[in-house]
Subunit: 340 residues, 2 copies
């Protein structure tokens, strides 16, 4: 579905109701949302108080992906530098464009760096397809382009390396079964959808070579918040001595946080996403109920994978250890922010 | 649905198409299936060859639960002892009844032994509800009565101990969301349904005190085959220093197997169970498709949790370590079989 979003209300609804989702896309939407906020503020009686209220509205749409607050803060700083409402609106538009373009560029670079990991595995395995397991959707549907976890996969595929992707269906919202499978199919990348429960079993049987996931927020020490279930996939990778990488642009790093488990806010979503499943039936999208009417459900949307379980982080500047030391080697200019 | 099964064909279809499921119930159905086989053999031209063919038919319905082959072998031995077809049929009926009664009795005893674990936790937690996570359905819908993993829960509930069960939905067939939640609701046991992906996250947050699962086949060394996804729940329990128990009657122990990962056959079921989800919509059971038409899926139905991740086994004779030594303390008479 292609949807026009012309007001802050529409943008806020699109983000919170997940008409769009994925760390990078939420960030880009936050950027353009702030442009809409500036426009609406410019035609209001009080620019500052209107902008303030609309900024809050956007900030509250999704709590876990730091790209949103990073984009909003960047816009606030850019808007504050200009003096007239007209210039503020113009700058907000330019900044939104920059954030979106940067997202696409960073994702392309992540693909190039991540390619090396897949190339090395392909050499070791002497041409047999490399089996990559991914969780949720961190492809071009989740970013302005390319994606994060899937970007190295697409780059490898383009380079003629044989890859096969195990796609976790990713309950409760099935982003794997519905989005990742579709994306990979459109790209012609061989893949197989599995229940989330099957990932550990396939690793035990030697049917996985590499785990690649995205991240909604990564702390300065390398803890990775990502779609619920990522943590247990990381545990299974560790138990089977398999590499587990998180791929993320620096816009997903929260340099102010150090302990992911204690500090990253985990979104609780509507339990109906557990009670019901949406899918296709007779050419329409329909909902079926899985649970008895009287049974409650709980729906935590993300979890935190501690850095000790993460083999490395693939960023737009290269691959590093999931640690403060590793991240500071790539982002020395962030030492100040992180230690504040 | 209450279904009459009057022929071997009907029984075989009921087992393989999962009109009935669960280790104990598959065993009991295998027992009665052999009674039907003996009856049909008695009215055929050649008792032995008919019985042989029908035994094979039953044996091939489900590969992972050892209760099926245990029940069939027990029936074969009982039937072989009798001389006339009439007596063979009579003995087969009596043996089927014994297997079913034994299943219920063993499950009740598992509840009494498992109760101690919950009682101890309740004392430690000073009256706050004990949070028990379970995977799949190992309650009275999966056995002749009581169940295995849920039997201690029901016993604790009856004893007035406050329990709350986290019910993994258990994709791809949703036995948790559909059966366990319903069973617990009928029993008045507080519970909450969660996505399979959420189990690790809840353990990280201190919201789980104990993991209790059933088993479809346990080796003489304590490796536990159970519903796909059990292994990653065990990994999460270990990572968070939480007790992980498998509850099983001795009819689920395969004394001839020692290495669960190498030896236990893992059933691959129809990928459509991953492609589609069944649930209620407008008062009817309907199916929706989750995956794109062109995306393949794979459906491994069970996995093996190595004994090193299992805190203990709860059997009808008591609780033991998940090891050869632990099992032989409870079942010394099995040393012979295990070492053959």
């Amino acid at each position: 579905v292609v949807e026009d979003l012309a007001t802050v209300d529409q943008m806020a609804a699109a983000i919170s109701q997940m008409h769009l989702r994925g760390a990078g896309l939420i960030g880009a939407a936050g950027g353009y949302g702030m442009y809409l906020a500036a426009s609406e503020a410019a035609s209001s009686k009080d620019f500052e108080s209107t902008l303030h209220a609309k900024t809050d509205q956007l900030m509250q749409t999704r709590p876990t992906a730091v790209n949103l607050s990073n984009a909003i803060h960047r816009q606030q700083a850019a808007i504050a530098k200009e003096t007239s409402p007209e210039k503020k609106v113009h700058t907000a538009f330019e900044t939104a464009r920059l954030i979106a373009e940067e997202d696409a560029r960073f994702c392309r670079q992540i693909g190039e760096h991540g390619l090396k990991i897949i190339q090395e595995l392909a050499e070791k395995k002497r041409g047999r397809p490399i089996n990559i397991l991914t969780h949720c959707n961190a492809g071009w549907l989740a970013f302005v382009d390319y994606g994060t976890a899937l970007s190295p996969v697409y780059t490898a595929h383009t380079h003629g390396i044989k890859v096969h992707v195990w796609v976790d269906e990713t309950r409760p919202r099935n982003q794997g079964a519905m989005l990742t499978a579709w994306e990979l199919g459109e790209h012609g990348v061989p893949h197989t959808v599995i229940a989330d429960n099957a990932a550990g079993h396939l690793m035990q049987r030697g049917e996985v070579d590499l785990v690649l996931v995205g991240s909604d927020r990564t702390t300065a020490k390398g803890d990775v918040a990502n779609k619920i279930g990522t943590y247990t996939k990381a545990l299974a990778a560790r138990d089977n001595n398999l590499p587990f990488y998180a791929a993320l642009p620096s816009s997903s790093i929260d340099w102010t946080m150090h302990d992911g488990l204690k500090e990253i806010p985990i979104e609780k979503r509507n339990p109906d996403e557990v009670h019901f499943v949406q899918g296709w039936a007779e050419g329409e999208i329909k909902k079926v109920r899985l649970t008895p009417e009287k049974s409650p459900a709980q729906n935590d949307a993300f979890d935190v994978t501690p850095s000790r379980l993460v083999t490395g982080l693939i960023t737009e500047r290269g691959i590093c250890e999931a640690s403060e030391g590793g991240l500071f080697k790539l982002y020395p200019e962030k030492k100040e922010t992180a230690r504040r």
